[in-house]
Every structure is written in structure tokens, then in C-alpha cells.
Symmetry: C2
Subunit: 293 residues, 2 copies
């Protein structure tokens, strides 16, 4: 608690979901630098709450993964909280086999990780099992938590699968790196801050290209989305992502999450957004931010 | 193996991913009736393979969940395999606390399930822990597998969280039902068959409304999606879902997955699809099917 409120150090306080060493913490260090004050939270909404209450300067929020798709819960939280997107990062999710220092690959008897991570490393685990037939593969709550567990146990026959950051956090050793079966495993994160405090967060990576994220609702009429997009087509604005989501309790009505290239204040974007407000039932602009490199 | 090939019984052979009693099996029984021949598969692609090789008449494929979003892996498999969508089902995902017969709620010491299911039942588990402070909540590979485990262990202090179908499959008892925190938990499934064999699969639920699912690619030009949608707007065709996905290895190019109301052979749909082929780089129609009720 004391560390979290020592603002004089000028360390950016970053809320993320998961244990220390989670992939989200790795993402935070990538975009905000090593000198951050980590504020790990158990649930996604606790990250948003922490920023609203100024217990953290920003939150690093996973929003979609190339293998698993959009993180729907976080799209909902974008709508529920008045935070602004100020940055974007794409992190390659690389899994590592991690054990207490002094452990040898051949002496392993148990490997722990989250079932999703275990499934993503299936080929590696299959080969290892051919060498060590007695090897047990065991599910755990989360990847970084599994590293914490095997380090606490302190045995030399147990390992966990997690991020490189988890190995650093728990001072453990990487026995094998990049053990995921599919290398096309990327997670996109947003950096979210309070609109009145965004100046206090400095991003390390700054791209020159700017992207804007919005959500809008259309009425239940054929062609409603088409007319909504007309505004962007006329302004020759590139769309980077579109996704529809049904509105709970309002059958046949949809929210559209849309990312487009350019700043919200550029003339073409201003015109497109103004036209959009005429055909859409509601519009919310989440922010303009430097595009991930 | 013998049972799986006894076609004279006229039981529809249904491939699904997961253990017997998985939510996908519950979905299969809902849309195809109780008299099915279940063909459980470990991986999603094995379901598609089984249908291609005529080891199963159809596959029941989860495609999106209201809390977790689209099942990207299965969208990719739709593209990779030449199967047709012949049916759609929306299943409410209800979690149950399941134990060997004769077990009492108060005597529980351990509860097993997949971490996603455990997270979805957090409120219930939190309350139960207040009553039973020594209760351990333990992760498992999958929900139905957790029921299988506690039934095999045969103790009266262990339970699992899974579907109603899992309780039936393993002849276990439901101690508490509908224990999920958020009741808005629905999964949408497609029934997929070989185009030349679709006549052999009879759906139990038949809606009069028809939906069509397609995927198309556009060139990398601003307004490309807008022009693609023009065809549907002119025909006054209702869109039910749209989702963009980046094409791996082709930066700035996208696939669009689109569902629209109506049969692919209706005049307005034929015209719209014909116009779409003029502006899109590629188009694939996955099928027209009765809309889920």
C-alpha cells in the first residue's frame, strides 16, 4: 500500500489483471518501460475501478487475441467506465517452461499451468512425455501463479508454463523458451487512463500513425450499418476493425465496435463522426492513440 | 468402433469436442434429439475430419459465447473444411454442482472444474466457502471430466461443476443447479454436415426463419467494406452479425464474417451475393439454415 501511493518517485502506477508476472505485466513493461509500479488486480473491473479512484495512473487491458478472439468482458467495461484509450500494444504470447534454479529438464515429473496455456504447448508436452513417460501435466489457475507455486515448493522435479516476466518475478530458471505450438499467438492491449489525467502517463513506444476506437448503436432497420459506414467511405477513412455485438435485452439491435485510422480531430474524421451521429442511435468515442508498431 | 459404424440403427452420429457429457453434447441432444450416437473428439479439427471421412453424419460446433466472444479456431475451421452449416442452436450455459449419489452439500471439502467454469460460479463458491471455510476449489481440464473424476473417486466430500448432461452421463447427483453468477451466458452452435450428406441429418427444432452465413475478403482500399455492404442495403436484407478478422501474413487485409437473414436462393439474396462477388476478392457461402429459436 505504501509503495503504491509514493507518487514522488514518478513511477507510473499500472493496474493489470492477474498475478505478478502475468502476460499483462509483460505488456505493461513493454509499453510503459521497466520503471512502473505494478498494481495487480484479481478481476478486470478492479483495474478500471483503480484508475477511476486514482489508485493507478492507467490500466493495461487485453482486448483481443489472434487465437482466442475478442475479450468481450473488457469491451463491456470500456462502455461501463469513463476511461480513455491512450495507447495500444500488440504482444506476442510466448510460453516458457520455468522451474526453480538448478532443475534439469530430464528430472521433471510434474508440469503445471492454466489449461489454455497447456493446450497451446501441446506439441512440446507430447514430445517431452515420450522422453519422460511418468510426466504428469496438471492444470493450475493461472500461468504466473503456477510459477509461484513451483518456486514455493522448491522441488527439482516440478516446472510451470508461463511468460518470461513470471520467471524474472519469481527468480526462476527458463528450461525451454518459445514452446507454444502456434507462433501466431498475439494479444492486443489498450492502455486506459482517466481523461483528466492522461498527461501523467508517458508511453515508451510512439508510432506516428494514429487510430481511433468508437462504439455506436444503430436502429433495427436493414441497411442501418451500411448508412453508418457511408460516412467513413466518403471521407476515404480506412477501417481497421469492425465487430457487432447483440444488445442484451434488445433483440435484433446491435452495438458496433469500430476502429479507424486517423485522429478523431482530423477534418475527415470529424465530418464522418458528425454524419454518424445522424444515423446512429448513440455514439461513444473511446479515444485516439498511437497505433501499435 | 463397432457402435459408431452401425448405421442400420438410423441414429445420427454426432461429432462434438469434449468428454461425454460436455456442453456440446447437451447442445447436440437439444437440436438432434436424444437418439443420437455421440462421437466425442479431443480437438475441434477432429470433429470436422470425422464428418469429412463419414465417421459422423454431422458435427455440433460452438461458434460464439455471449461472455467469451467468438470461437476463432472454429471460424478458421469453417474456412479450412468443405462442410455446410445446416442448423443453428443457442444453448443457455447453466452450471451445476454435481457429486456422487448420497453426497451432502455441507460435507463437501473439494470442488473441481475448468477454471472458466469456476470463475463463472464465483458468487456461489464464495458463499459456500463462508459456510465451509476448509473448502478447496481446484482446477480441472474440463467440466465433464471433473464429474467423471469425482464419480470414479467415489468419495462423499468431493463435487464438480458441469452441465446437467454430465450428471446424467456419469449417474451423479445435482446438489445445486443454475449456480452461475451471470445468467446471460449463452453459446451459439452450428450443425455442420457434408453438402452431399445433409439430407441424412434431421433437425428436431425447425424455425421458419432462415439465416445465411458467409465470409468474404475485400481489397485494401478505404470504403471496401462499405461497397460490399451496399449490395445488402439495396436489397433491404437484415444483417445479423459482422466481424472482421485480419488475414495472417497479409497486413491491412481482412476477412469479414457476415450473417444475414434469408435464404441464399431468395431473389434479393441472390442479387446481393452477385454484387458482392464484383467488389470482394473472394466469397464463400457456408450455408442457409433455420435460425435458432
Amino acid at each position: 500500500m505504501q509503495r503504491a501511493t509514493q507518487k514522488k518517485k514518478h513511477r507510473t502506477r499500472v493496474a493489470f489483471q492477474g498475478e505478478r508476472g502475468a502476460f499483462s505485466e509483460e505488456a505493461a513493461r513493454r509499453i510503459l518501460g521497466e520503471k512502473i509500479e505494478p498494481c495487480p488486480k484479481r478481476e478486470f473491473d478492479e483495474m478500471f475501478e483503480a484508475v477511476i479512484r486514482d489508485e493507478a495512473d492507467c490500466a493495461v487491458v487485453p482486448i483481443e487475441n489472434t487465437l482466442a478472439g475478442s475479450v468481450i468482458k473488457n469491451y463491456d467495461l470500456l462502455v461501463d467506465y469513463d476511461l480513455e484509450i491512450i495507447g495500444e500494444l500488440v504482444l506476442r504470447v510466448a510460453h516458457n517452461l520455468i522451474a526453480p534454479k538448478g532443475t534439469h529438464l530430464r528430472s521433471l515429473r510434474k508440469i503445471y499451468s492454466h489449461p489454455v496455456a497447456l493446450a497451446q504447448c501441446e506439441d512440446f508436452l507430447h514430445k517431452l512425455r515420450l522422453e519422460i513417460p511418468s510426466l504428469e501435466i496438471l492444470p493450475a489457475y493461472d500461468t504466473a501463479g503456477a510459477v509461484k507455486l513451483v518456486v514455493e515448493n522448491g522441488r527439482h522435479d516440478e516446472a510451470a508454463i508461463a511468460s518470461r516476466a513470471a520467471a524474472t518475478t519469481y527468480r526462476a530458471q527458463i528450461l525451454a523458451e518459445g514452446i507454444e505450438s502456434n507462433p501466431q499467438n498475439f494479444t492486443r492491449f489498450f492502455v486506459m487512463a482517466r481523461p483528466d489525467r492522461r498527461g501523467s502517463v508517458r508511453l515508451k513506444t510512439r508510432s506516428r500513425e494514429v487510430k481511433t476506437s468508437i462504439v455506436f448503436r444503430t436502429t433495427n432497420k436493414p441497411g442501418a450499418l451500411f448508412h453508418a459506414l457511408e460516412a467513413f467511405a466518403k471521407g476515404k477513412i480506412d477501417l481497421a476493425k469492425i465487430e457487432s455485438r447483440p444488445i442484451v435485452g434488445r433483440p435484433w439491435e446491435y452495438s458496433f465496435y469500430l476502429d479507424f485510422m486517423g485522429d478523431r480531430n482530423a477534418p475527415a474524421a470529424r465530418r464522418a463522426l458528425a454524419s454518424l451521429t445522424m444515423v446512429a442511435e448513440s455514439l461513444r468515442i473511446f479515444g485516439s492513440y498511437p497505433r501499435a508498431e
